[in-house]
Structures are given as C-alpha cells and as structure tokens.
C-alpha cells in the first residue's frame, strides 16, 4: 500500500517525509514537468507506484513561478502562463492520471494556499489558479463519488505552502490580507495537514467530499 504524494515544493516534500518517518510507503514525483502531458504523467505515476496499491493521493503542486509578485499589467502572456495556467493544466493532468491508478474508496487530498479565498494584490495569477484548482476538485469529487473516492482540499498559509523554499524566495511573498492575526498560536503545518489527511483517510471522513478545510490557524475565516 502506497501513499502517492504529487508536488515538488517544500510542503509536498515535508508531507512525504512525514509519511516515511511514520513507516508508510510513499511514492513521489520529482519533476512537476511530467504533468505537462498525459502520457508522460501516466508513465511517471505508474513508474513511481510500481505494483503497489495506492491508498492515498496527496496533490500539493503549484508552479513556483506563481509565488513571485507582480501587477498583472507588468507581465507577459508567457509569464501569465507560467504563473497561472500551467498550474491549472498540471492539476488537471495530475488528477486525471491519478484517477486511473486508484482503487474505489481512495481518498484524494489537495493542499493549496489560502490566498484564493481572499485574493492578494500582486498574486492575481496564483489566486486565479488556486481557485480554479479548488473547484476542479469539487467537480471531480462529484464525478468520482459513485466510486467512493473522496476529493477534499486543505488550505494553508502561503508561507506554509512554500515550507523549506522560503529562503530561496524571501521577500517575494506579500502578507496575506487578513481580518486579524491568526487565531491560534504557531504550530507545525505538516502535522496540521497530515492530521486532516488522516481524518479523510479514516472512517470519520468517509462522508466528507468536495470540502475545503482551512488549516491556517484561523488566518482566513470564510463567511
């Protein structure tokens, strides 16, 4: 039995490492670019998983280009694609190809930054991609429910999504507009996210699909 973790950013890596340290078998993909076409993506996933049965899919994948801040009037069409549309396409391909691998009843969990829920100046492409992916997940949750496949999304703080990557991009991430400070004290985002994933995997989560849960310490509280 294998947990398939898709995404090469800091949070995806950390979730994979957490699972390994807990004794789980983990399959990872080391290059997001494999999701630029269906055939390569399918081959890469099958190669990563081997003969194992996939018991969980975690998708925490966004193109890091999207984290650089710029007004939309200052970017080229290629930059728009790099910062927004490429992540949308890769999410589609990743979900489509992961669906081919999983058995009935497998939970699929997406992890995304919380910025799409509120919008951030300078991060329009990222917010656009995040919201598109979030509702793409809802649509497939409806499609795959008949197979008891659950599809849920966890929202985390933007800096948390870039866990371990922040040193490379210091100064590029603006503060998320908030209604106030995080309600809860600092905690391990990996523990927080993995804890929710474990709920989705457990019988307690079997009726939960198409949901969007924030694990951002109460930074963004949706209406």
């Amino acid at each position: 039995m294998t947990a398939l973790v898709i995404g090469t950013g800091g949070l995806a890596r950390s979730i994979g490492e957490h699972f390994v340290s807990a004794g789980r078998s983990v399959a990872t993909i080391t290059a997001d670019a494999v999701f630029d076409d269906r055939v390569t993506a399918g081959d890469a996933l099958r190669s990563a998983v081997g003969d194992s049965v996939v018991e969980l899919v975690v998708l925490a994948q966004l193109d890091p280009a999207g984290f650089a801040t710029a007004p939309i009037t200052a970017i080229t069409e290629q930059q728009w694609d790099d910062t927004c549309e490429r992540s949308l396409r890769r999410a589609f391909i990743a979900l489509q190809q992961a669906h081919d691998l999983v058995a009935d009843g497998t939970p699929i969990v997406l992890v995304l930054p919380n910025v799409g829920a509120v919008g951030v100046a300078g991060l329009v492409p990222l917010c656009t991609a995040v919201e598109g992916i979030r509702v793409m997940a809802k649509a497939v949750a409806r499609r795959w429910g008949a197979r008891s496949i659950t599809v849920n999304t966890i929202g985390v703080e933007l800096a948390a999504f870039m866990l371990g990557d922040t040193e490379d991009r210091s100064g590029t991430v603006p503060p998320v507009p908030v209604l106030g400070s995080p309600a809860l004290p600092a905690s391990s985002v990996v523990d927080d996210v993995v804890g929710l994933i474990e709920v989705f995997e457990s019988p307690a989560g079997r009726a939960v699909t198409g949901a969007f849960l924030m694990a951002d310490r109460g930074t963004v509280m949706l209406p």
């Binding site: 549309e85 396409r89 589609f92 793409m136 499609r143």
Partner: protein, 252 residues
C-alpha cells in the same frame, strides 16, 4: 444610470451577453457589441438601438489579442472613453459535458483560452482606460464555478478561476479606483432553448429547482444587476460575486 457611458460586452451576439447589452442600452449606454462574426450582430445592434442605446459592432474574438485590443481602441477612438468592460464570452463547447477522465489538453485549451487567458488579457488592455474613468470590470462567471459541476469539470474550473481573479484584482486595482466584480447567472441560453424544444420535461424539472419557478431572462433578470455593477451606484462594491439565480443557489 449609464447615460453616455461606454461599455464593451464580449460574447454579445446571443444569450446572456445579448441580454446584458440590451439592458445596458436601456440604461443609456453606448454599447460595444463584441462578437467573433460582426455580420451576425445586426439583430442585437437593432435591439440595442431600439432600447435607447448606441450600438458599436466590434470584431472581438477574445482569444485573439490583436482583435480585442483593436475593439477597445475602436471604442476609444469613436467615443473617447471606456467606462466598463463586461467579459461574458465563453468557449463554444462550454455547455458540452466533459469526459474529464479521458479529455485532452486541446479541450482544456478551448475553455482556458476564452475564460482564463482572455480574462487576464482584456484586463491588461482595458486597464489604462478604466483607470481614466474610474470604471468597472465585470466578469460573467457561473454557479458551476462555485459549487463544481460533475458534467462540466473544465467549465467549473475556469469559471472558478475567474472568481479568484476577481478577488485578487479587486485588491490590486482598488488604488486605481477600478472595481472588479462578477455575476454568476442562471439564465435561459440558446442551448437551453434548444433543449426546451426537444425535451420540455427536462427543462421543467430544471425550472422546478428554482424557488422563483423559472430560469432567468438574460435581459430582464441578468441585465439589471449587470447595469448596477457597471454603474457608479455600485461604487463601493468590488471583489464580489453576485449570484443571480432566482434562489436556485442559496448556500454559495
């Protein structure tokens, strides 16, 4: 409400776009009728004129950067300003059920080019003109982009993407005095009219889900909220999605 104001509507040849164009005309606007085939826009131009507006037919395939730029510039050349832009155009295949599990990137591109890329490109092209008028950018999204639709996963995703765009751009353009909003309409469409002719019971079932008992009329139900959001009456409203669905969607 919009006397003499200049508004461009994309996808204005039919359906919601056409209804919004006519409603803008009733409010006194100069209406740029953005269409892929100008020769097919004669009827809507007549309706705009009959409603009291001034029609300007513009070739505007929104997937063509040059055409959309020229459409905006033509309005500026002829009427001196742009007060609002309504991006309503969608892919011709937007209402087709999508086999997500087997779909290819070409189909994704059909949706994304019109609803995601053009949303960005039109914004960039319109920005200096909207800043000059303290104007408004209005996107036509969909309830599917809020709750997700099983048969329309691509449409759901690109319409949701527009909502993320609206929230973020409203913050980015607030200092410029430009408002950015969206409407999620439930309305009669040409596709639905075809369905009514072939399967009236199915249409009746859909209408039965709407508390107000009918699907929205593009001109009389979707148009007025669009006029409001384009106008200065909504000068303190930005970053919002207004669901105009006869109460069909109450939890969004």
């Amino acid at each position: 409400m919009l006397d003499g104001q200049v508004v461009l509507v994309t996808g204005a040849a039919a359906g919601v776009g056409r209804g919004v164009a006519v409603s803008l005309a009733r409010a006194g606007a100069v209406v740029g009728i953005g269409v892929r085939r100008p020769e097919a826009a004669g009827e809507v131009a007549d309706e705009v004129r009959d409603a009291g507006g001034t029609p300007v037919i513009l070739r505007c395939d929104v997937t063509n950067a040059q055409q959309s730029a020229e459409a905006i510039e033509q309005l500026i050349d002829t009427h001196g300003r742009l007060n609002a832009l309504v991006h309503n155009a969608v892919s011709n295949r937007s209402s087709e059920p999508t086999d997500f599990e087997h779909a290819d990137l070409d189909l994704w591109e059909e949706h994304a080019s019109v609803t995601v890329r053009a949303t960005w490109r039109l914004a960039v092209q319109a920005h200096p003109h909207l800043r000059a008028t303290q104007g408004a950018y209005l996107l036509m999204t969909s309830p599917a982009g809020i709750e997700g639709s099983a048969p329309l996963p691509f449409y759901s995703a690109v319409k949701a993407a527009q909502r993320g765009f609206v929230r973020a751009l409203a913050r980015e353009w607030g200092p410029d005095g430009i408002r950015v909003n969206s409407i999620a309409p439930l309305a009669v469409s040409p596709a639905l009219e075809n369905l009514r002719a072939t399967d009236p019971e199915r249409v009746a079932r859909i209408e039965g889900l709407v508390p107000l008992g009918r699907l929205g009329d593009p001109t009389d139900d979707i148009g007025p909220p669009s006029v409001f959001l384009c106008s200065q009456e909504a000068r303190y409203v930005t970053g919002q999605t207004l669901v105009v669905s006869g109460g069909r969607f109450t939890s969004l």
